[in-house]
Amino acid sequence: MNIIVCVSHVPDTTTRINVGADKKSMDPAGVKFILNPYDEFAVEEALRLRDKFKGEVTAISVGADNAKEAIRQALAMGADKGILVKGDKSDSFQVADMLAAAIKPLSPDLILLGKQSIDFDGMEIASMLSELLDLPAATVAVALNIEGNKATVEKEVEGGRETIQLDMPCIVAAQKGLNEPRYPSLPNIMKAKQKPIQEVSGAPGAKRTEIVEMTKPEKKRANKIVKIDGNASQAAHELARMLHEEAKII
């Protein structure tokens, strides 16, 4: 099975986000970047399927030179090779377009992604790829089962789960719960350094969005704190009163 995994290189979840001088992007100074957490589930699933069906796993990322680190991480987990598509990733259509162009000639049996890239939180690339490559796709997958030329996905939706059936080849975007991603072992981290990463330049169609500005949300919170001074029911009463009279929620 020829499997492609799309990986993105994103700021660590605990990073403080500061707005850059251009007021349109994050200031990268001092920010630690990681392999997008959801992509770890995608890589893990790819490795398991490769071990089951034989074949090859290729990790691909669109971004600047440093996106290679995300590919390296996938290689250290066990992927066979990598492709870095050098390009600007500020417009999601362009990212999908560059991915589609790089993936198409490889005619994969399966394309795996994370459900969401935790930088722009778009949840859009899998569906865009589906249309651009004319392949069926399912997102937010917590289970994936492949039999013959059919794949079955359990998708998490509000209030429950959907079972989705897809013809192979297809695209699946992973949610937490799909599997338990492995940690790369030291020997595998060393081995990953020898694995090939091909570099190509992306040539996407025109941008379809333009960032006007990036800001930090500034919601004013009332921040009224009551303390239990030996009397819990009095404190509860005071909290309920505030919700009723001040916040007017009940």
Partner: protein, 321 residues
């Protein structure tokens, strides 16, 4: 400006996020139309006719009895063309987030996901959406003639107004292809009777401070008094006290309810990522330095075990009036 709103159905009813999208469309300003797509569009068309829209576009195909995102996207894009829509709005639900980017590709349109606010000055629409798990927000202009947005649930009031006159109904025949159905839903299993965190207007969430699953009746009782859904921190889900479906945060669900009550939750950034856009936040924690208090509107410093029974009674009293 023609705005087309996709009406998502569940169990034969138009879903609330779609009604909210209609309100968002009216707030943007323009002529609002609705799209109904399904195997049996008739019943939904009747519901749609009670809404404040000018035209209800309907596309039916028996094969849509099993929902297909691809087929629905084709239909939505064809309807958008017929309606001369410049803007297409889809509620940012599980299905909506799949559908909207597909429609955008088909319409050669730019797309902004999970929009929380719009400004429109003379047709120059700027959409704001949270990025970096809500730690920042981006204002984005779509530069294509057609623009597609998904709107985050619970931020607009569901449209209840009726149209000045009954909406016209226009049936659209869509040129579906077999490959559109190469992906379809064979089952939708809903957890019985429980309100889902992603949809709830009020959420009562518990964290590790609750000490064990056997104490969750305290959380559930308060939730019931509020008419709320129950949520949980990751620590609680990882410990197996609560199902992952209840997890709020970076690796769980993102919620923006009217009221979020965090009990025994410290307020780690990954938790805040999922709930910081809630309208009102209440925190109950025995540690007055817990980070959750820094984003709380109302807080109570104290032992949850002492305060929850009393608070539940207070809320019941207030709600019974």
């Amino acid at each position: 400006m023609n705005i087309l709103v996709y009406l998502e159905e569940r169990n034969g009813r138009i879903r609330k996020p779609s009604l909210e999208a209609i309100s968002a469309a009216h707030a943007l300003g323009g002529t609002v139309h609705a799209a109904v797509i399904g195997a049996e569009a008739n019943a939904l068309v009747e519901q749609a006719k009670t809404l404040n829209v000018q035209t209800v576009f309907a596309a039916s195909d028996a094969r849509l009895a099993k929902y297909s995102s691809r087929a629905t996207a084709r239909a939505l894009a064809e309807i958008a063309k017929q309606a001369n829509a410049e803007v297409v709005l889809v509620g940012a639900t599980g299905r909506g987030k799949d559908l909207a980017p597909r429609a955008a590709i088909r319409l050669e349109a730019g797309y902004v996901p999970d929009v929380t606010a719009f400004t429109n000055s003379n047709g120059d629409i700027v959409a704001t959406h949270p990025v970096y798990a809500g730690k920042a927000q981006m204002s984005v202009r779509v530069t294509t003639p057609v623009k597609v947005f998904s709107t985050r649930p619970n931020l607009w009031k569901p449209s209840k107004d009726a149209a000045a006159s009954t909406p016209a109904v226009q049936n659209v025949s869509v040129s579906f292809q077999d490959t559109d159905f190469s992906e379809h839903t064979t089952a939708l299993t809903l957890s019985q009777g429980k309100l889902d965190v992603a949809e709830a207007d009020i959420i009562v969430s518990g964290g590790r401070g609750m000490r064990g699953p056997e104490h969750w009746t305290l959380i559930e009782n308060l939730a019931e008094a509020f008419g709320a859904a129950t949520g949980a921190s990751r620590a609680v889900v990882d410990a197996g006290w609560r199902p992952h479906a209840e997890q709020v945060g970076q690796t769980g669900k993102t919620v923006s309810p009217t009221l979020y009550v965090a009990i025994g939750i410290s307020g780690a950034v990954q938790h805040l990522a999922g709930m910081s856009s809630s309208k009102t936040i209440v925190a109950i924690n025995k540690d007055e330095n817990a980070p959750i208090f820094s984003i709380a509107d109302y807080g109570l410093v104290g032992d949850a075990f002492e305060v929850l029974p009393a608070l539940t009674e207070e809320i019941k009293k207030l709600r019974s009036h």
